[in-house]
């Protein structure tokens, strides 16, 4: 049950609605909150993965050895949900191959390696696009061409979300700048330092969606960002306001943020667009601004490097493809072996598989956490305290879900809402028995997806097998037919040959008769004439094999198919 009560103290007047559950982890944002965004120079080697987004892998359009300019497209989106990839700086493509992905599995992914030449030579960029005059589809096309994806971590291609106005009636654009994960300060800094740019990007997105109002949601623990953004959005042509939302994890979860702001719940497995709202991340808005006003593709992003194992925590504007190790070196390196090296925040971030893995569009933080900052404890039996139930923002019963998943009752877990879990990790955070709750939900969800894939694949292979069987039957039938035709043809030929032989014999006989019967010309001539007529008649069946051959030629497509 959702309790509705106004939280006027936050939000600056507008009514807010409370959501269920949530936790208050210590935020550690002070480590990097006062570090201004700094630009990191290009490293000696960039590894640009072709799969930095949800959807299909991009298709490379450069070759090994090519010289590329900064911002030049090096891979294009494949299919409806995909994103283009651009060269982060000028240099030479030294390899196109598979390289460790910034993904917990550490599996290799198609990657273009570029050796920067240090010239920072820009490619020819498309001209600026004015959101006031551009059509919504033009804005979406520009955003797609710039390879912008959701930069809050989900990495869904933004252009697809900008086209939602075509399918849904949209009222409100929500800009998610809650940044509820501990440690992360990159969005905070972006809002403080580049508030005008972010506000302009917000305006571009609103224009593309055709919405009538904008809400920029910022957590109450970022007063400076709230102030800067309030000033920045005041001048926009569309009604816009900054909403201060309570500091509570997971406030940045899309559906929960929408509920806090509007009191409306998004139905299970539906989009927020179904209730007329689209949510975009603040960093995405900044990227859209660069794409629209300067034609610049998404080739860098602000990353928070923090954690107590990092010597100099910072907010770094990093080129996409920079290896983690170079970024850490830029921040003074690690002071000790971190207990955990995470990409993203501590609640939902994923362990980095390798220091050589690159920073990609969806990485908002690199955290080197010391043993003191991590919990590493033996998990104990569940005492059914229901702490997890009270903090679950989705209203689920994590303890029951976990029990079912432990027994491999995945369907049973789905029945009680496994698919509504947003994997925020609040349950694991509060569990006094240290039960890996969210970890087992992640396992179960992955396993279900895999099962679905397997099933789909089996259906596909079945279809393939049936098609092959049909084809084989067709080929066999065609072969049989061809064989029958050939037999008929041969039979006809044989017949014709016999006929010819007969005819020749008849002619010979007639000639002999003519020679021998010179004395009696009258009957001989008559018989010779009869023989000639017979011969003429005999040639007629000779045409038949030719006709048959034509028929065989007509049947030839079958044969070629059989050959195929």
């Amino acid at each position: 049950m959702t309790k509705f009560f106004p939280l006027k103290a936050f939000s600056g007047g507008a009514k807010l609605f409370s959501i269920k559950g949530g936790v208050h982890p210590k935020d550690f944002k002070a480590l990097s909150a006062e570090c201004a965004i700094e630009r990191m120079p290009a490293p000696s080697l960039l590894r640009v993965p072709l799969q930095q987004h949800i959807g299909a892998e991009a298709e490379p359009i450069v070759k090994q050895g090519d010289d590329v300019a900064k911002g030049q497209p090096i891979a294009v989106g494949r299919g409806a949900v995909s994103a283009a990839v651009h060269a982060p700086t000028s240099g030479k493509v030294i390899a196109i191959g598979r390289f460790v992905a910034p993904h917990p599995s550490g599996l290799p992914v198609a990657t273009i390696s570029i050796r920067p030449d240090g010239e920072e030579r820009w490619a020819e960029l498309p001209p600026p696009l004015d959101p006031e005059t551009a059509a919504p589809s033009e804005i979406a096309a520009r955003v797609a061409a710039s390879g912008v994806v959701g930069m809050g971590g989900a990495t869904f291609p933004s252009a697809v979300k900008l086209n939602l106005g075509k399918r849904f009636t949209l009222e409100t654009l929500v800009i998610n700048a809650a940044e509820c994960e501990p440690y992360l300060t990159c969005d905070d800094r972006l809002l403080r330092e580049r508030s005008e740019a972010v506000a302009d990007g917000v305006f571009c997105i609103a224009k593309a969606l055709g919405v009538s109002s904008i809400i920029v949601a910022i957590e109450a623990n970022k007063p400076k960002a709230i102030e800067a953004m309030t000033n920045a959005v005041a001048g926009l042509a569309i009604e816009a306001r900054v909403a201060t939302v309570p500091t509570r994890y997971p406030m940045g979860s899309e559906k929960h943020l929408v509920q806090t702001l509007t009191g409306r719940e998004t139905p299970a497995r539906a989009l927020t667009a179904d209730i007329g709202i689209v949510v975009h991340n603040a960093a995405t808005a900044h990227a859209v601004h660069r794409a629209m006003r300067y034609g610049e593709p998404l080739i860098s992003r602000v990353v928070t490097v923090s954690g107590k194992a990092v010597r100099r925590p910072a907010n770094v504007e990093t080129l996409i493809g920079t290896p983690i190790t170079d970024l850490l070196d830029h921040c003074g390196g690690l002071s000790e072996e971190p207990q955990r090296l995470l990409l993203g925040g501590p609640m939902m971030g994923q362990p980095a598989p390798s220091l050589r893995a690159p920073i990609v569009k969806g990485v908002n933080g690199v955290l080197g956490l010391t043993a003191a900052e991590c919990r590493r404890a033996e998990s104990m039996p569940c005492i059914r305290c229901a702490s997890c139930v009270s903090v679950c923002p989705c209203g689920l019963t994590p303890l029951e879900l976990h029990a079912r998943i432990k027994n491999e009752e995945l369907d049973g877990a789905v029945e009680i809402g496994l698919l509504d879990c947003v994997a925020c990790g609040s349950c694991s955070f509060v569990c006094p028995s240290n039960i890996p709750l969210v970890q087992s939900f992640n396992y179960a969800k992955g396993k279900l997806t895999q099962q679905q894939r397997t099933k789909h694949q089996q259906e596909e292979t079945k279809r393939l097998a049936q098609q092959r069987e049909e084809r084989m039957a067709r080929i066999a039938a065609a072969k049989k037919e061809a064989m029958a035709k050939r037999k008929a043809e041969q039979a006809a030929k044989k017949k014709a040959k016999e006929q010819k032989a007969k005819e020749a014999a008849a002619l010979k006989a007639a000639q002999e008769e003519a020679q021998s019967g010179a004395q009696e010309p009258a009957p001989g001539a008559a018989s010779a004439g009869a023989a000639a007529a017979a011969a003429r008649e005999a040639t007629a069946p000779n045409e038949n094999p030719a006709q048959k051959r034509d028929a065989a030629a007509k049947a030839a497509p079958d044969k070629t198919e059989a050959a195929q």
Binding site: V23, H24, P25, K26, Q51, H103, P104, S105, L107, V109, P182, T247, R340, L342, P346, M347, G349, Q350, P351, L369, A372, E373, C374, R375, R376, A377, E378, S379, I405, G425, S428, F429, V430, N434, P436, V438, Q439, S440, N442, Y443, K445, G446, K447, T449, Q450, Q451, R453, T454, K455, Q457, Q458, E460, T461, K462, L464, A465, Q466, Q467, R468, E469
Partner: protein, 188 residues
């Protein structure tokens, strides 16, 4: 009394006639259970179960002549589905978690003889005469037909390689919490 007897008799006769008619009209040809089983079988007719094709296997399962665990490509998932369909208890413990297998061709040993792709029931091998052949993993069922046909033993059946698409987190083990969890320090 008479009316009741008459009514019951009339009803009995008419319903009996109806049933008799239905038995003739709606007569089912063949075994519908075998059809249902065949529908959920992989359908590649690979023959790993020992029956000539999925139809024969389905008939055997329907007749309880074969266990529901007979199909290696279908794996545990198919076995549990079959058990559910037939209403039998399946002993899945012996089956274990089957890892999906795919064929792999060692290119240095492939002579391009085309024997393998002529055997492949799902057209998962591409290549041409005297060209190196290769396997499309997504279409391969790991049925072993190609490996048996290869004259140079250039084909092995190996577990399907993990990709970012099919990888998922392993089941967390009890004991030391192996996944990321921040220290439980709560904001003041």
């Amino acid at each position: 009394m008479l009316a009741a007897v008459a009514t019951m008799t009339a009803m009995g006769l008419s319903l009996g006639a109806l049933l008799g008619l239905a038995a003739r009209r709606l007569k089912v040809e063949g075994d519908p259970i075998a059809d249902e089983i065949e529908a959920i079988m992989p359908g590649t007719n690979c023959g790993q179960c020992g029956f000539p094709g999925c139809r024969a296997a389905a008939e055997a399962v329907a007749a309880a002549a074969a266990p529901v665990t007979l199909c290696p490509p279908g794996g545990r998932m198919l076995a549990s589905e079959l058990a559910e369909l037939l209403g039998v208890e399946a002993d899945l413990s012996e089956m274990g978690e089957t890892t999906p297998m795919v064929a792999f061709i060692f290119e240095d040993q492939c002579t391009g003889c085309t024997k393998c792709f002529k055997r492949c029931p799902t057209d998962a091998i591409i290549g041409a005469s005297r060209q190196i052949h290769t396997v499309i993993n997504d279409a391969c069922t790991g049925c072993d037909a190609c490996a048996a046909a290869c004259p140079t033993q250039a084909i092995v059946i190996r577990p399907r390689p993990d990709t970012l698409q099919n990888w998922h987190w392993p089941k967390p083990a009890d004991g030391l919490d192996a996944a990321a969890a921040p220290a439980r320090e709560v904001a003041a």
